[in-house]
Symmetry: C2
Subunit: 123 residues, 2 copies
DNA sequence: CTCGCCCTTCAACATATGTTGAAGTCAAGG
DNA sequence: CCTTGACTTCAACATATGTTGAAGGGCGAG
């Protein structure tokens, strides 16, 4: 009785997700291998992604720009539902922004220490 | 008439700078190769760094955490005086913080777009 | 002047983040 | 059914960021 066909929307191919996310197909496979996105397989062993895949990849690219590794990004998405709600995205957003701000704060703190001539600026 | 001996304070060895900055000597050589720090050479071809070297490296490490590449960090230090004043450090600080905040803003903007259900969150 | 530690270069290795190409398979349109 | 384009895996390559080890040389203390 359970619906086993298209239980969720795993319908997009590698190429479609790649085009949507603005990256190469090889990058899509890379992100899947590293847990940033998830895929089901067709009977012919081809990957099928849901709609959130391209979105996750775009988030990953922006998060990489603030210094998060692919591993760290995958961790943020761990336990993320297949079909995320806007609230789910909101939680991810908070986590990523908090991390970015923590790193910026570390930078700012260290730079303040130096440029105020604290101890490192004994030049 | 010009003073050619110890024109500036290039007196620290690779190992000293490494210990001061908390990195491996190999990393110090790496940063010099990539323009983050500068060295003079002794007659015996050994590197000698000034006091700002360890400081630059520490800044570089923190800047890397917010996503800047070594190349980008070297660019920030391009044209930086050998013997930087606190104002010089202040300018570097402003540049780095501005870049970090720009990247965080990009992350924030993209995430806001998604989690508000704008167009990407048509899940 | 010699001893030992730190320095030198260079090549190989290691990890992260991908890209490219070869060889073969799948799937959708005619 | 058959062609064709997109898919598969796997290995090699590429760049960034370093580390490690070998072979040899400098420099300061005794």
């Amino acid at each position: 009785m359970s619906i086993t066909e298209t239980p969720t929307g795993y319908v997009k191919t590698v190429g479609e997700v790649a085009a949507e996310a603005g990256v190469a197909p090889s990058a899509v496979r890379f992100y899947e291998q590293h847990g940033v996105i998830r895929a089901e397989r067709t009977s012919g062993d081809q990957r099928r992604f849901d709609d959130s895949a391209a979105c996750r990849i775009k988030v990953a690219k922006v998060a990489q720009r603030v210094g998060l590794t692919v591993r760290e990004i995958a961790d943020v998405f761990a336990g993320f539902p297949q079909e995320p709600s806007c609230e789910d995205w909101g939680r991810v957003a908070e986590t990523l922004i908090a991390e970015a701000e923590a790193r910026t704060a570390a930078l700012r703190g260290y730079l303040a220490e130096i440029s105020s001539g604290a101890k490192l600026c004994e030049i």
